[in-house]
């Protein structure tokens, strides 16, 4: 019983990161119909820069987190610039492919700049361990779950109550109409990528406080976040959160009760099952388009 609880907390810790990444996939997909495969690398960039800022400049934690969220947003806008504007073909498939290339490039640059070193952050409330029902929980795990709640809640309000958010939603529904009303597809794309970058950065800062991160850890995380987004239904915000935590929990339980060596197949097995049986995911937010 204690073990189950312990594994569940472990699943929530990693699940929180998957959920944030899945949210980022969702927002980009809604804004551009493209899948941003550079997503995992943003998490890495944010995690590594958060750790580096903390180590070199000794800035307060809150400042570090704020700075990397801005850095993440800039990464997102930069992606839009590279993958949408420079490519000059804003059909979603080209953009998706371009993000794969950009992801590889980001990883290579990070490798060179960091010299393969790993960076870490202290926990947001210190190195505190909570004991809940016999399980030992890193207080940071709760912070990371809180980040997800804040991000998902903030996005929900933003997309419904803030004019810019409403415009983004409108553009996702009908880009032509939105453009005719003065909100261009380009603007929608830039904002979507920017927000996605900020979300990924929050995930990165949260993760760096749980475990040291280096140039190499974003790729797999991005793919698992993608599996989470697909499970929830690509483009659905609640789906992303549910999908993220579901993948995290399944992984933790699988490694605890079945096999830890093969825990990584969980996310991809889920992805395959979703693709075969219910390609729109649990929360079918998006019309299926034949491509």
């Amino acid at each position: 019983m204690t073990d189950l609880l312990q594994l569940t907390f472990s699943g929530l810790t990693t699940g929180a990161a998957y959920a944030l990444v899945a949210l980022a996939f969702a927002i980009v997909f809604r804004g551009t119909r493209a899948i941003n495969f550079a997503q995992g690398e943003y998490v890495m960039v944010a995690g590594v820069s958060a750790g580096a800022l903390h180590a070199w400049l000794d800035l307060p934690l809150a400042v570090v987190v704020a700075v990397v969220i801005v850095v993440g947003a800039l990464c997102g806008v930069l992606t839009e610039l590279v993958c949408v504007r420079f490519v000059r073909r804003d059909d979603p498939h080209t953009v998706t492919l371009a993000t794969i290339g950009l992801g590889v490039a980001i990883k290579a640059v990070a490798l060179i700049l960091t010299d393969r070193k790993a960076y870490t952050l202290p926990g947001f409330s210190g190195d505190t361990t909570l004991h809940l029902g016999g399980a030992a929980v890193d207080a940071q795990a709760l912070w990371n779950c809180l980040l997800v709640v804040l991000a998902a809640g903030g996005l929900a309000v933003f997309l419904r109550a803030v004019p810019l958010g409403v415009a983004l939603r409108a553009s996702a529904d009908d880009a032509e109409m939105a453009a005719a009303s003065g909100f261009s597809r380009r603007a929608a794309a830039a904002w979507s990528f920017g927000i996605a970058g900020a979300l990924a950065a929050a995930a990165g800062a949260g993760l760096a406080a749980v475990s040291p991160v280096n140039y190499d850890f974003g790729t797999l995380l991005g793919l698992k976040g993608f599996a989470a987004a697909m499970l929830g239904g690509l483009g659905s915000m609640p789906g992303a959160v549910v999908g993220g935590f579901a993948i995290g929990l399944l992984e933790a339980w699988f490694s605890g009760y079945v096999s830890s060596a093969y825990a990584d197949i969980v996310a991809f097995a889920v992805l395959l099952v979703v693709l075969f049986s219910r390609p729109t995911g649990i929360f079918a937010a998006v019309r299926v388009e034949r491509v």
Binding site: D3, L7, L111, I112, A118, V213, D216, F217, A263
Partner: protein, 396 residues
């Protein structure tokens, strides 16, 4: 006579002995000044860049020192270097170039990745060129019957695991929770530990993890059910740090340890309080200055560390020392053959060298063992919060 033969052999690469054996010696004087060409591949760019850069520097330091003392058998060493950037195909092309165009006499360094060294090995063996690898995998030199002219200057994970198992057993630990990552490095350790642990009277249960994992709680939770007396993780990634943090958080208070892939203070520093007291099973380099003065390793390592610091203005590490040792060993063998670069003669010379005290330990190559290092060169260190200190008393 020997020198002429050596030169002719070197020039002809894979040709058999006959071509140079009957040299008249007329060009002996000038020929003796011809440098011995040392081919080398290290990945100074690409993922293993940090490792490769240190290896190249270690190798160059060794060559400089040897040349400053007049070279080997009257001939200077000349380095021919390529960077395969962790790409095995590139490394194969470069190895062919070393053989046929550069006509190198010996090769030291196998691309900074075991996979590359393994790919280079058959090419060099066929060309009759002695290959001193500075990479880790056992398979580079095993089975030894098929690797007669291939050696390596690194620890087999077997001896490191063996020493660690012995140490834990001495500390009264009966069962071990082992967490290797799922890379080749971890998988190999997993297989080897299963062989060596029973000899040390240690019962092992194993849970693997992905090298980029950010949470090892599930693995530890599962292992904890068997109540092992100690836990050891085997990886080259920051997951080693996560292991220490997660284990202490779960309230595990027995000994925790990391392996030779984690011989970097950063892994322990970043674990904070959880890093304190954690063990490291690796060579003696991290604790060299704390070894007792009568430990013969101390003088050799000190000399190396200081020379490296002087030349490059940065601290040496285990990777630099492996390449350094590899070159020095080959030079010893060349000294013994009088400069003859025939691979089989050099192999014989290496196998019959007296014990060579290198930075990594005492090398004792035999016809059966082309790794050379034994468990006595492995030190168990503990992180005291600031640095590594010897955990196994004398360090022997």
């Amino acid at each position: 006579m020997l020198l002429v033969a050596a030169l002719a052999l070197g020039a002809c690469g894979s040709d058999d002995e006959g071509s140079g054996g009957s040299g008249s010696g007329s060009s002996g004087e000038s020929a003796s000044k011809e440098p011995i060409k040392v081919g080398s591949l290290f990945s100074v760019t690409g993922p293993p860049a940090v490792v490769g850069e240190k290896m190249r520097k270690g190798l160059e330091l060794a060559i400089d020192e040897i040349n400053a003392e007049g070279g080997v058998a009257g001939r200077k060493l000349e380095l021919v270097f390529y960077d395969p950037a962790a790409d095995t195909n590139k490394a194969i092309d470069q190895t062919r170039r070393l053989i046929s165009r550069d006509k190198v006499d010996v090769v030291v360094g196998g691309g900074s990745q075991s996979g590359i060294a393994l790919a280079m090995q058959p090419l060099l063996a066929r060309a009759g060129i002695l290959f001193m690898a500075t990479e880790g995998a056992r398979e580079i030199v095993q089975p030894v019957e098929e690797r007669k002219t291939t050696f390596k200057a690194t620890f087999n994970d077997t001896v490191v695991l063996q020493r660690m198992a012995e140490y834990l057993s001495e500390q009264g630990v009966k069962s071990l929770g082992f967490l290797p990552d799922t890379s080749g490095f971890g998988e190999s350790a997993k297989a080897e530990l299963e062989k060596v642990a029973p000899e040390a009277g240690l019962k092992v249960s194993t849970q693997s993890f992905d090298p980029t994992a950010t949470d090892l709680t599930p693995q530890l939770t599962k292992l904890r059910r068997g109540k092992p007396g100690a836990y050891v993780a085997w990886t080259t990634t920051p997951a080693g740090t996560t292991f220490l943090k997660n284990a202490r958080r779960l309230g595990i208070d027995g000994p925790l340890g990391l392996g030779i892939g984690s011989a970097d203070p950063a892994f322990y520093e970043q674990a904070g309080a959880a890093g304190k007291g954690a063990l490291l099973a690796a060579g003696k380099l991290p604790v060299y200055d704390l070894l007792p003065d009568d430990d013969p390793a101390k003088e050799v390592i000190t000399k190396f560390v200081e020379a490296y610091q002087d030349k490059y203005g940065e601290p040496a590490n285990i990777f630099a020392s492996q390449a350094y040792d590899g070159m020095k060993l080959v030079a010893k063998a060349l000294e013994a053959t009088g400069g003859d670069t025939d691979a089989e003669k050099l192999a014989e010379a290496l196998e019959s060298l007296d014990t060579y005290r290198g930075v990594n330990g005492e090398f004792n190559y035999t016809a059966e063992d082309h790794s050379g290092l034994g468990t006595s060169d492995v030190a168990i260190a503990a992180w005291d919060g600031k640095r590594f200190v010897p955990a196994d008393g004398a360090g022997e």
